[in-house]
Amino acid sequence: MRKRVLCACFLAWSANIQVYAEQATTMNPQAAPATLDASQAALAERLFTLKNGMQLIVKPDHRAPTAVHMLWLRVGAMEEVSGTTGVAHVLEHMMFKGTPTVKTGEFSRQVAGLGGQDNAFTTDDYTAYYQQIPKDKLEEVMKLQADSFVNNQWPDEEFKRELEVVKEERRMRTDDQPRSLLYEQLMAITYNVHPYRNPVIGWMNDLDNLTADDARSFYKQWYNPLNAAVVIAGDVKPEEALALAEKYYGNLATHPVKALKPALEPQQLGVKRIEVKAPADQAYLLMAFKVPQLRNVEQPTDSDWDALALTVLSAILDGNDGSRFERTLINNEQRIADSASTSNGMYGRGPQLFFVEGVPANGKTIADLETALRGQIKRVAEEGVTEAELNRVKTQWIASEIYQRDSVFSQANTLGALWAIGLPLDTQDKLIEMLRKITAEQVKEVAKKYFGDDQLTVAVLNPQPRDPNAKPRTPPAGLRH
């Protein structure tokens, strides 16, 4: 279960993207990485600080005459305060509604006229705006984006209309998706204090009561060049990109970045369990274990190693017909689950979770499934994993890094996300170096350490029939305006 990523537009987009820099020439997962030669070094990502302190990241890739330009803000749903959940994402929609010199709707129209495609997305941790363009249009989109960044302005009427669009988005993504509703409820009880407890899309009642000025004040407070980075990837030269960035972003006014209160989550003292009733046929189980967050890849601590070992554990547990869940819970004769999978958060601006989810097979209960899923983790804690399993994960990880080089957008996206989270730009390389050293013993240890009851939240979807004559669950709009 991945964190929700919301987009202004409805184009499909995956959050699951990384960058490469691995230069190995064989698949031996134990092999040391080869050193960079001069031509490869010219393709390495570069980090610059502009005159006003704003940051620029450039990643050359000359395979095709295209580029992607992204504006990243270290601002997401995490920055929202009580009663205004959803405002970071609503503001992201409003950023397309004009400036004194670019009318409502003109931004996307102009990007389209340049042969480009644009969109934006908001998560708990960050917000990003991007344009994919032919390389000779880079300057024009930078000019448009820089203007939108600091001069965003629109009448209240535009806000009211767009808020209705966002509520439709909430109905589509959450209210009509039982498993999304369950995830939302699970997050809300997993964290008592940390803002990850609120959905990125916002609670419906908060959206009903959100005002244009809420969005404007969020914008004034957080949209600040000192809180932002430009990422450019594709057929560009770093020095030319730097000159353009200085011209359009380097002179923008800044103000000191306000520190966010830590809002540290108090220690969880025992298992939390909830049930959600929603229209569905199949029951569904979602469990979240609190686990460490990877913070340092330069000099990793024990908890950084644990964060990585948990991701390796996740890859051993599920993902293909040879994985443990598939072998023992889904595909074998006494099958327990119709589907089952795990995912480890690993890194982010805030605390991280290890998710385990599944759908019980016909005739099996949620309790059977919970026992079986946790039994598989327990087995790793007791018996460990094989060298073959470990090497398989390393091989797949390294291969996936190479496949990722095919997408310029993925490269830009990973760099932006690492910057926003506060990790070094070569984190992917560093992780591979760490991954090569991970032992079966480390995987066994994390399976032992993090999967007890006390740091666990269990959420169960209790499927309900739909009543075709029931009243609509959504109150009519305008009720509160």
Partner: protein, 452 residues
């Protein structure tokens, strides 16, 4: 980053959906096309930048060729062909778990899929000398000798039936099923997998399909990656070795198929449903890929509803009135006549308003066509954005598979922008009037409530 990426299986190629799919390619990357002695056709774009290769092997054996009493045959054969292999040549049998491990050990991906028009194998592998030969050998083994184990088939069918029951509680699925059936009637494009259709299929059906329908002389192979012509040719020979048909002297011709019938009157389906949004789908059978009006329809639909937030439908329904988050229109340009569709979701009490407005936008467009300004903007986006359609191996592969599937000329990508540029507003008006009859469309409204 969440979970490591390899869980994102490579996507199978789907029918050309105008407005959203990649339709063209590289002037800089030449495409080679040749035929092997057994009739297999190969399209190759060598791309040496990354040590990887993508291979897509396609047969015109998708859903549209499923026999009337064996609907869903190609699709079930595809999903079960990934579940273990029998012994073949000097290679031992592998059960599904061992096969999963074998692919994971290579860091390679192999997928078998079927859609409306095609049955396809897709391989993605690194081209390192210690990896690629093994990937090719494993793929060849899997193509040659899927196990089709009856117990596994039973299990997968049970899982699919459970998933269908789950889907039937969800508004988008229910609306989509009603829509497909109303638009296509008995044509295979309208078939929806059911418990009964699954239970009508036997293991022998699957084996028979696999043995008789995947003829190498019909295979169209698209390749993008770090391979030379010779390497690619040799790879294909190896990959398809197990499909050889004994004693074949000439390639059998595939029968022409009937197109879905045109609708003779408007069909309105108002389905009761309790959901947070009403689901709306409007459309009809409209056009096949080989239609000479392909380019006017492509450009016209880009303006109507194929270009995201700047399309007419989005402008009117979302931007001006806030009635929906997602609205678009598309023509599914398939081998047989595919559908034109407008799809959106809105709050239940706004459903009728959204339908009326969408129909009004559509009728106006069909009647009058685009303005010159709209046409100019669409061309600027499509022509200017051409390089973005071919800027990765994945995008290029989609374009080459499109050329292969539809018998398009090798210079298709070189002339694509000229074809776009040649479209006039009169071409669009005429093509839309010929393809679309707004008074004879299916309108599915699921979960509407009375207006407030």
């Amino acid at each position: 980053m969440k979970k490591i990426n390899f869980k994102l299986a490579s996507q199978s190629l789907c029918a050309v959906i105008l407005g959203t799919s990649m339709l063209n390619a590289h002037a800089v990357t030449p495409i080679e096309n040749w035929q092997q002695p057994n009739g297999t056709s190969i399209w190759l774009a060598s791309s040496m930048g990354i040590p990887m290769v993508d291979v897509h092997v396609e047969f015109d054996m998708g859903k549209r060729r499923d026999p009337e009493d064996k609907m869903g045959l190609s699709s079930l054969a595809a999903s079960l062909a990934s579940k273990g292999v029998s012994a073949w040549k000097d290679q031992a049998a592998l059960d599904e778990a061992a096969l999963g491990d074998a692919w994971a050990d290579l860091g390679a991906e192999f997928n078998i899929g079927a859609d409306d028009d095609s049955f396809a194998f897709a391989l993605r592998s690194l081209t390192y000398p210690d990896v690629l030969p093994k990937s090719i050998a494993l793929a060849a083994h899997q193509i040659a000798a899927p196990a089709f184990d009856p117990l596994i088939a039973q299990r997968e069918i049970e899982k699919t039936i459970a998933a269908i029951k789950e889907a039937e509680t969800q508004p988008g699925y229910v609306a989509g099923v009603a829509y497909a059936q109303a638009v296509f009637g008995k044509h295979p494009y309208g078939h929806v997998t059911t418990e009964a259709s699954l239970k009508a299929l036997t293991i022998d059906d699957l084996k028979q399909f696999y043995k008789t329908k995947l003829n190498p002389c019909h295979a169209k192979v698209s390749i993008v990656g770090a391979l030379t012509h010779e390497q690619a040719d040799q790879m294909v020979t190896q990959l398809l070795e197990g499909l050889q048909v004994a004693g074949q002297t000439s390639c059998p011709t595939l029968a022409d198929l009937p197109d879905p019938a045109k609708l003779t009157e408007a069909v309105n389906k108002d389905i009761k449903f309790d959901s947070a949004q009403a689901q709306i789908m409007i459309g009809q059978p409209a056009m096949k890929r080989s239609d000479p009006d392909f380019f006017p329809i492509l450009v016209g639909n880009h303006i109507l509803g194929g270009s995201g937030l700047v399309s007419r439908l989005s402008e009117q329904v979302r931007e001006k009135r806030g009635l929906t988050y997602s609205i678009d229109s598309y023509f599914a340009a398939r081998q047989s006549v595919g559908e034109f569709t407008i799809a959106l979701q809105t709050r239940p009490d706004q459903a009728q308003q959204a339908v009326d407005l969408s129909m009004q936008v559509l009728k106006d467009f069909v009647e009058k066509g685009p303005t010159e300004e709209e046409l100019k903007a669409a061309k600027a986006n499509l022509i200017g954005g051409f390089p973005l359609r071919i800027d990765s191996n994945r995008n290029l592969l989609n374009n080459i598979a499109n050329i292969a599937r539809n018998g398009l000329p090798l210079n298709y990508l070189d002339t694509w922008t000229q074809q776009i540029d040649a479209v006039t507003s009169e071409d669009i008006r005429r093509a839309f009037a010929a393809k679309l009859q707004p008074d004879k469309m299916v309108t599915v409204i699921l979960g509407a409530q009375a207006a407030k």
